[in-house]
């Protein structure tokens, strides 16, 4: 197997994914195209040399539907010889894109690829893609919304509202400190209009002033007797589900796009690129959908085993903060040092542009490994219906 290297990576800022978000006026195709164009520009790569463009999208419908990756390639002004493929694994879509790119390179079938993802949730709202898993009455009898599942997890693990809120405050604080010291500047591309006016140049959802008192005012979001009982009949030791998650301790909807340039050693020489890291291993797994985390935990174990690593070997973790209980559980389950987890804040602070998040977490991990001069990072995302995807990257000596 050949090494699959990451040569470079770039992302947009994360905009508020609700009405009035700064990126709402930007089409998802435009958003992604700005990132893609700049990624090739700064590496000096001609687009015809790319083998493919792999983009993850969470809701591949409407403006984001109909093979949006090809639309992005065309809109970015890339050569018509460049194809494009859209990947969907819900919240882990762009992590999946990167894993697929790395596989194609390792297998020797492709040499140079862009992998990433996009999501404009302010324009194509969450769940716009519908789907039988969630709403077909004959298929959905196992379905438990992730929010209820997160509350179930908190109930089983006896996390208190305080525990959950504390992590949220922590997340905002770390994110805000990272913003202050311009930790993201290498990989952050401000999004601009045609006439050069800046729409957004920073992650706008981070709130440096987040406090426990402020969060205490929010009402629980996921009360629903039907889903509660679905969960309780699987975990009958619970009398009821404690509804503890609210808008302040879950990842808010966001807009954004991100992309990585990946290739093999030959391409590094040909275009005089210095590899920043390589993909060590990746894995996908699935488990009880009512618990969110089983698939994710399993994918972490699988990826570690594939890479022949122990959890202690990992220097930095980027774990998707979809819900506070999920991150607390991962830390408990693997006995992680919280100081190594989401060191620059997580999705609770930044927001979660579904299809772009995986690539964004990889980018954060890579930048921070370099800043700290460390080697190994693990990125993991738990997603819809109990699935989880993990990728381990390792920095490459120049």
């Amino acid at each position: 197997m050949k090494d699959a290297f990451i040569f470079d990576a770039l992302r947009s800022p994360r905009g508020n994914g609700e009405e009035g978000g700064s990126l709402q006026v930007v089409k998802p195709v435009e958003l992604a195209s700005q990132v893609l164009k700049e990624l090739l520009n700064r590496s000096n790569i001609p687009s015809p040399s790319l083998d493919d463009l792999i983009l993850g999208v969470g809701a591949p419908v409407g403006e984001q539907g109909g093979l949006v990756a090809k639309a992005c390639a065309l809109h970015a002004g890339f050569s018509s010889t460049l194809a494009g493929v859209t990947i969907n694994r819900s919240c882990a879509s762009s992590l999946e894109s990167v894993n697929l790119a790395s596989l194609r390179i390792s297998a020797g079938q492709d040499q140079l690829l862009i992998a990433g993802g996009l999501e404009s949730m302010s324009r194509v709202p969450l769940h716009s893609d519908g789907g039988s898993l969630m709403s077909d009455p004959q298929i959905a009898h196992n379905f438990i919304p992730q929010g209820v599942a997160a509350d179930l997890l908190a109930s089983l693990k006896r996390y208190s509202r305080r525990d959950l809120d504390q992590w949220a405050v922590h997340s905002h604080k770390k994110a805000s400190l990272a913003q202050d010291r311009a930790a993201f500047k290498n990989s952050l591309l401000p999004i601009k209009s045609q006439i050069g006016h800046s729409f957004l140049s920073y992650d706008e959802l981070v709130k440096s002033g987040t406090t426990m008192e402020g969060l205490a005012n929010f009402e629980p979001l996921f009360k629903n007797p039907g889903f509660d009982f679905r969960a309780i009949f699987r975990y009958p030791e619970l009398e009821k589900i404690a509804h503890l998650h609210h808008v302040g301790n879950i990842s808010p909807n966001a807009d954004g796009a991100a992309a990585l340039l990946l290739g093999n050693g030959r391409m590094a020489k040909k275009y005089e690129l210095s590899p920043r890291a390589k993909i060590r291993s990746f894995a996908v797994a699935s488990g009880d959908s009512s618990l969110l985390v089983k698939g994710m935990n399993q994918s972490i174990k699988k990826a570690l085993k594939q890479a022949n690593l122990e959890i202690e070997d990992i220097d930095l973790f980027e774990i998707q903060e979809s819900f506070s209980s999920v991150i607390l559980n991962t830390i408990d389950e693997f006995k992680l040092d919280p100081e190594k987890v989401n060191v620059n804040g997580g999705s609770i602070a930044f927001g979660h542009p579904q299809g772009a998040t995986g690539a964004m977490l990889l980018i954060s991990a890579l930048d921070e490994l370099e800043a700290r001069n460390q080697r190994l990072a693990l990125v993991s995302i738990g997603t819809f219906s109990g699935m989880g995807v993990t990728t381990i990257i390792e920095r490459v000596d120049p």
Binding site: S135, A140, E237
Partner: protein, 721 residues
């Protein structure tokens, strides 16, 4: 069959009258006739409009279920449904105006026909019922009803109506959008129908009433279907597959053109029909209920209605019974311990009626009539004027016995004395009664209006006359009677108590109360064991357990499990003064929301890793104990027929309907495997699970023999009475 009349104004009236079925029901011949007529009418260009009405008391009731259940294959059912769909579609697509002039009840297919019309007018009378009751028997509409209803009133309203299976008065039906206009008389009905037709040559598309569809592709639609799928699993657990199928049908209808939606509906219906759970529900809720009602109805002509009925006790049960009796035109004489209490009781009935009037549940006239029918008594001696007396005072053996003695002093010897006790045997209550032949038990359940069953208890001395009086009252209250032989807890209380006691045993063994409660709910019971105990009231549970211990001669065995169970309940009633849900404190706290109280959680012990007890184990215990106890009731002759056991179990404590009821559950499990299972359970959990003799007999003979035995027993009862 269908009387056709062409009026001078070129409007045709089709008056439905199915003489074959007695009541206006749809059967094969009826459809054939309808098909022919509709085809002719549609071809005739001169006809200006069409009115459907009926020459019967009813407009049109559902399909004839007895024709339905006999030897039909799913394929035939599908074809039958498609035929109905076709003729209703033809009517709907015919450009001329069609009016349903609803002069009597329109249920099931009857309402589907009305929905295929362009306009629906009904006579505003509270005896007329309009709705889709199919779901209660595990079925759903199959003549385009799901599609037409959702396009008329929207998906959300349709789902509620189809799931609840409620039969509405015309007033309520209009509120729900099922009816367009109400009139007072039959003449007005036809006049209004003609007037509607004469407005139009052809009804323009934009004047047809429509509610925009809630597409499963919209965000709102997705959330709705997703949430409802979960909600239905919870709310209709144990009640068959129909609720889920109805939701699925509405989901697909929202995505499909009418032709395809029609196939989905017919397909769903045929599939439902084939399910064993549906067949069991039909067996009990149609045949079983009819069987029980027939016993009540056969007696009704032997007696004139009682002049007046005395109701003693103006508590929840007394008030409920009085209101219902008064609503069915009985003269009620209410008596509580003194005039103030009695007046207060009547005041509460008045208040209740006023609330109902606000919600349109009664008309002003009905409210006034009911109140006029309830008079208060100031003295026990006033009871002399009553023909029948119903006692509903607190469940206290001594109080009841003392009261009977006082009553007997003042009433003539032919007055019927009925007790609404929920647990004491007639024998224990009748010690002070001289004329025991007049004494009969009639167990109503709370809330009186909602629970559609009356459990009649026949004591050893109870006369035929007293029994008939009780049957007649149940019949007149439009409830279903079951006749049970006297014994502690009769049938319903005894089985419910076995379920509660098993829950308490699990608790004593240290299992988590949450797991016990969830096991009951997961089995499909509306109430979990501890919550049911709270609902019945803990003093009543305590009294029952106490008398059982007494009866079994265990009083002196101090540490028996039964004593320990009683100990828990007594601790709650006496030491903690927690009496159940009515006082908002029992095994649960009820304010603000029901939640297991700390005192009950104390019984949970840490799990024993060497002897893990699974959720499935607890479910099996809670379920099987009811089956064993039911078989014993059969054995002892407390229960006479399988139908009565099944019907009572479904209607009273919500035994999962898809099993057909507690006796059917015994039947479907009466095999060698179940026998061995019970023997193993007896070894592991206690003797109470030992298979009763009757089960062994059943298995040794064969399934038919039980059926025959049941029939023989039923015949014997009929002959006897």
């Amino acid at each position: 069959m269908i009387n056709i009349q062409r009026m001078e104004n070129d409007i045709i009236t089709l008056s439905l009258e199915n003489r074959e079925t007695g009541k206006n029901l749809i059967n094969e011949a009826f459809i054939t006739h309808l098909e022919t007529l509709v085809e002719e009418i549609i071809r005739d260009k001169n006809t200006l409009g069409l009115i459907f009405t009926s020459s019967h008391k009813e407009f049109l009731l559902g399909a004839d279920i007895s024709a339905f259940t006999k030897g039909k294959t799913a394929m035939e059912i599908f074809d039958f449904s498609q035929r109905l769909q076709k003729v209703f579609n033809d009517l709907e697509q015919w450009p001329r105006p069609v009016v349903a002039a609803i002069n009597g009840s329109a249920l099931g297919v009857g309402l589907e026909l009305a929905l295929a019309c362009d306009y629906r007018i009904a006579i505003n009378h509270h005896t007329i019922k309009i709705g889709f009751p199919e779901v209660k028997m595990g079925l759903m509409p199959a003549a385009g009803g799901t599609r037409r209803l959702s396009s008329l009133i929207g998906v959300k309203g349709s789902l509620r109506i189809l799931l609840e299976g409620e039969k509405y008065t015309p007033l309520k039906a209009k509120e729900h959008g099922l009816i367009d206009a109400l009139v007072e008389t039959k003449n007005d009905l036809i006049e209004n129908a003609i007037a509607f037709i004469q407005q139009y040559e052809v009804i323009p598309e934009n004047e047809k009433k429509r509610t925009p569809s809630l597409s499963a592709y919209s965000k709102e639609g997705q959330e709705f279907f997703s949430n409802m799928a979960a909600q239905i699993e919870l709310d209709y657990r144990g009640k068959g597959e129909a609720p889920k199928r109805i939701l699925n049908c509405l989901y697909e209808t929202s995505l499909l053109p009418p032709e395809a939606a029609s196939i989905v509906e017919s397909q769903s219906f045929a599939e439902l029909f084939e399910l064993e759970s549906t067949q069991r529900m039909i067996q009990t809720l149609y045949y079983g209920v009819n069987y029980c009602r027939k016993i009540g109805a056969q007696k009704k002509d032997q007696l004139s209605p009682p002049r007046s009925i005395g109701v003693i006790g103006a508590g929840v049960m007394g008030r409920g019974i009085s209101e219902l009796l008064a609503a069915t035109n009985h003269q009620v004489l209410l008596l509580d311990k003194d005039l103030t209490s009695t007046e207060m009781g009547r005041g509460l009935i008045q208040k209740d009626l006023e609330e109902k009037l606000k919600r349109n549940d009664v008309t002003k006239f009905a409210k006034e009539t009911i109140l006029a029918n309830i008079k208060t008594l100031s003295n026990i001696s006033d009871l002399a004027q009553c023909e029948v007396i119903i006692e509903t005072i607190d469940e206290n053996l001594q109080l009841k016995k003392d009261l009977y003695a006082k009553i007997e002093e003042v009433i003539p010897k032919e007055t019927i004395l009925i007790t609404n006790t929920s647990s004491f045997s007639l024998q224990s209550l009748s010690e002070n009664i001289h004329h025991r032949d007049r004494f009969v038990g009639l167990h109503f359940f709370s809330p009186v209006k909602e629970v559609p069953l009356g459990e009649i208890i026949k004591g050893d001395k109870t006369s035929q006359n007293a029994l008939i009086h009780a049957l007649k009252i149940v019949h007149q209250l439009e409830k279903t009677p079951v006749v049970i032989r006297d014994g502690e807890g009769f049938f319903t209380t005894r089985i419910m108590m076995s379920y509660i006691a098993e829950g308490l045993r699990c608790l004593i063994e240290g299992m988590s109360p949450s797991v016990i409660e969830n096991a009951g709910l997961a089995l499909g019971f509306p109430q979990s064991p501890l919550s049911l105990a709270d609902h019945l009231s803990l003093p009543m549970v305590e009294g029952y357990l106490h008398s059982q211990i007494k009866a079994s001669g265990q009083e002196l065995i101090r540490d028996s499990i039964d004593q320990k169970i009683l100990g828990i309940v007594s601790r709650f009633t006496q030491k903690l003064e927690r009496l159940g849900s009515r006082s908002l404190k029992g095994f649960y706290n009820y304010s603000p929301e029901p939640e297991l109280c700390d005192a009950i959680k104390e019984y949970e012990k840490p799990k024993d890793p060497t002897n893990p007890i699974s959720f499935e184990d607890i479910k099996k215990r809670l379920f099987n104990i009811q089956l064993v106890e039911t078989m014993k009731c059969f054995e002892e002759g407390v229960l006479n027929t399988a139908y009565e056991g099944d019907v009572a179990s479904l209607l009273v404590w919500g035994f999962p309907a898809e099993t057909g009821g507690v006796v059917s559950a015994c039947h479907s499990m009466s095999n060698e495997l179940f026998l061995q299972d019970l023997q193993a359970m007896a070894l592991q959990w206690g003797e109470r699970f030992s298979p009763p003799k009757i089960l062994k007999t059943l298995i040794n003979k064969n399934y038919n023999s039980l059926h025959e035995a049941r029939e023989i027993l039923a015949d014997a009862l009929l002959e006897e009475s």
